[in-house]
């Protein structure tokens, strides 16, 4: 088959214009603007700024609540990744079995991903709210969301549940791509099903696991906002106020634009940093076919 080529030098640039237009308007300009604003004290209404050097950064890093939120976010993210990946792999393994009605199970288990975080929050509120939550009634404990030790657990469960469908889809696809020949030859060599899983299947799943690791980190840091807003508003007493929620409050409620800009820069560097770290460490162990 003959491949057609374009010899026009400028055509690639012309074709890139729409992409770059969108990137500049929605990504680069806001990012640069955020960077600039983080060095200013800004009037909450008119947006007029006064240069303040590192004032905003010093302020947020001397705020004990912000530092607490830092640690909380890290713990929250780890819990969401660990719980999310473990459960979704387990479910994906079960969904990979050939049993009657498997398509129905698959659809039902992937369903939660189609919900928006706020709706997922509303559902968990229906289960756990202290006034008339269904699970409060069955467990006999009303304080799931109003106790500072259990609220974060409910939020983690909700966040894991919400993202389960996404993780399952990827694991399921990866499982179906594990070559039958490799498993078969392992069987012939006398490997049991446990050994087969850890030595063969898991190795073939490593690229997907790594990808989900990165995606779940981003999810936990950024996308869990809606859940928290609906379930706890960051409370009780700040026990579920992770970095993204802290940022939301500072910008949208307290109108501290400079602080918020500095915080989003910190959050951005953090997630980029964690991702690079993951590529450097876990990335090397990933086995691509």
């Amino acid at each position: 088959m003959k491949q057609s080529t374009f010899n026009n030098k400028y055509l690639p640039y012309v074709l890139l214009v729409p992409t770059f237009f969108i990137l500049i308007v929605f990504l680069f300009y806001p990012a640069i603007e955020t960077f600039r604003l983080s060095f200013f004290k800004i009037h909450p209404w008119t947006g007029v700024g006064k240069f303040a050097g590192f004032y905003n950064f010093i302020k947020i890093f001397t705020n004990t609540e912000y530092l607490r939120s830092f640690v909380l976010s890290a713990g929250f993210t780890l819990a969401v990744i660990a719980g999310g990946l473990f459960l979704s792999l387990l479910v994906a393994l079960l969904l990979n079995k050939k049993i009657a009605g498997i398509r129905v199970y698959r659809t039902l288990l992937i369903w939660p991903y189609a919900l928006s975080p706020a709706i997922a929050g509303a559902l968990f509120n229906f289960l756990f709210n202290p006034a008339n939550g269904v699970l409060c009634y069955f467990t006999g404990i009303r304080t799931w969301l109003t106790n500072d030790k259990t609220a974060i657990i409910v939020v983690i469960i909700a966040a894991v549940w919400k993202n389960l469908g996404y993780n399952i889809i990827f694991y399921l696809t990866a499982l179906r791509n594990v070559p039958g020949a490799a498993l078969e030859s392992a069987s012939i060599d006398g490997a049991g099903s446990v050994k087969k899983f850890f030595y063969i299947t898991f190795a073939f799943l490593s690229p997907t696991t790594f990808f989900l690791f990165v995606m779940n980190t981003i999810y936990a840091y950024f996308a869990s906002f809606g859940l928290i807003d609906v379930l706890t508003e960051g409370g009780p007493a700040g026990s579920t106020r992770i970095l993204i929620y802290h940022l939301y409050k500072d910008f949208f409620v307290h109108s501290k634009i400079g602080y918020a800009a500095a915080e989003s820069l910190v959050l951005f560097s953090l997630v980029v940093g964690v991702t690079i770290l993951q590529f450097r460490t876990a990335g090397k162990k990933v086995h691509y076919q």
């Binding site: 202290p130 508003e233 949208f252």
Partner: protein, 444 residues
């Protein structure tokens, strides 16, 4: 003498010319076609109610087109106004909560209502407005915005449950001690946690007002200077929370967390027998209890024995943004005034429970016999009229009120978890003060 006459005439002319030019006159064509935008923060059935009021206005003023938008919560609405203003397309009218008042006065994006009214020689009959309502929005002698939805907190109680517990159904508890006693009796009658209200600093603020104490320094934020220090951590504030937290500790109070739905749900489903909420909930809660066949009563919010203060109003008002053409300003002024007039206010009151802002509207409701049929709609109003008029009951003004509320609410949750009331309040006050110092510096 004759010599002086021309000089005198000239002098008079000059002076009178000066005098008239002092008074800013705006010439505008009243019948010009004009369209204005109005953003409000009232959700649900209230969207249609407001649209209905505006439709009546446009029917009477066919040259004015009004685009009414529901723009989310008060907070969302303010954020949208902020970005729209920066982009140069702010709405002509927007709706803000009462606690945004000092921030908006200093925002540089609004036109004071009295000033615009004076420019068009259409002064607003403030004498017809109830004093507590208009004095909240009056700052240094000028009204900056038009009072719109006005409420106070109320105690709602389930009469059917009161009867079961052997309590007087027509005499709701009025003091801290009486609430406690009633709660104990209800608990004995089988209610696990008989009392609740949502985690909201508004109740705390109101209960400080009830003791006739200020929330913030510089005359409760009304001296004309920006206040620099909050005083809610004083004796009055501690007294409120000693009682509130004490009830929670003793299992008489159900902590339902923040937001405005859980406490209503707990009351509507019969989990609790006493709830504190906004007077604008009277409509909703009456219906919720009637569905179950229960009867509802209302009462004033509780105070410590002998406290002499009163409540301050809550709710919201309508603000005008600046930088509009005189035609738009006049149309905006007309609409704002229309919304404050009897017809609109009566429709609004009946549909929500927010009470009318004008005396004439109230009189009309009384002669109609509305309150004989719906006595619970009158309680909030009487509670307000029974309040003395002081700087404390006019309501505290604070630029960073939304943040102060967050910090107070967080402190209350720490108290539920075991922190002492005094420490919790002092820490919250210190944080608010630090934030206030920063805000005062940035805003100037």
């Amino acid at each position: 003498m004759k010599k002086w006459l021309p000089i005198l005439v000239v002098a008079l002319l000059v002076i009178s010319g000066l005098l008239t030019s002092c008074e800013k006159k705006v010439k505008v064509d009243e019948s010009a076609e004009v369209s204005i935008e109005f953003w409000h923060a009232m959700s649900g059935a209230r969207i249609d109610l407001i649209q209905g009021i505006v439709d009546k206005f446009t029917a009477e003023n066919p040259n004015i087109k009004v685009d009414v938008q529901y723009t989310g919560s008060y907070n969302d609405t303010l954020n949208k106004v902020k970005s729209a203003y920066k982009a140069g397309n702010a709405p002509d009218i927007f709706h803000s909560y009462e606690i945004g008042t000092l921030g908006l006065i200093n925002s540089g994006i609004i036109s004071p209502l009295d000033e615009i009214a004076k420019n068009f020689k259409r002064e607003i009959p403030w004498d017809d407005f109830f004093t507590p309502v208009q004095s909240y929005y009056k700052y240094q002698g000028d009204h900056y915005s038009m009072p719109f939805n006005t409420s106070t907190p109320l105690i709602y109680y389930n009469k059917t449950f009161f009867e079961k517990a052997g309590l007087d159904v027509n005499n709701p508890p009025k003091t801290y001690e009486e609430i406690r006693a009633a709660a104990l009796k209800l608990k004995a009658a089988g209610f696990e946690n008989p009392v609740t209200w949502n985690l909201h600093s508004w109740y705390f603020e109101q209960m400080i007002c009830l003791q006739d104490e200020p929330f913030v320094n510089d005359k409760n934020g009304r001296s004309g200077k920006l206040p620099t220090e909050v005083v809610f951590n004083g004796e009055a504030g501690q007294k409120v929370l000693d009682w509130w937290i004490g009830m929670e500790k003793d299992g008489l109070f159900l902590d339902v967390g923040p937001g405005w739905s859980n406490h209503r749900a707990a009351f509507g489903s019969g989990e609790v027998a006493i709830v504190m909420s906004s007077s604008s909930d009277v409509n909703r809660l009456t219906e919720a209890l009637a569905e179950k066949g229960w009867e509802m009563g209302t009462g004033y919010i509780p105070r410590p024995e002998g406290a002499k203060g009163g409540v301050a109003i809550g709710g919201g008002s309508l603000w005008m943004t600046n930088n509009h053409t005189p035609e738009e300003e006049l149309a905006t002024l007309k609409l704002i005034t229309f919304i404050s007039e009897d017809e609109a206010q009566i429709a609004w009151h009946k549909g929500t429970g927010y009470f009318p802002v004008r005396k004439t509207a109230m009189d009309q409701l009384k002669t109609e016999g509305w309150f004989d049929e719906n006595p619970n709609y009158l309680t909030a109003f009487n509670q307000l009229l029974d309040s003395p008029e002081t700087l404390n009951t006019a309501g505290g003004l604070l630029g960073i009120f939304p943040e102060a509320r967050e910090l107070i609410q967080s402190a209350i949750q720490e108290m539920y978890a075991g922190k002492s009331v005094k420490d919790g309040l002092d820490e919250a006050a210190a944080k608010v003060n630090a934030s206030m110092t920063e805000w005062n510096e940035v805003i100037q």
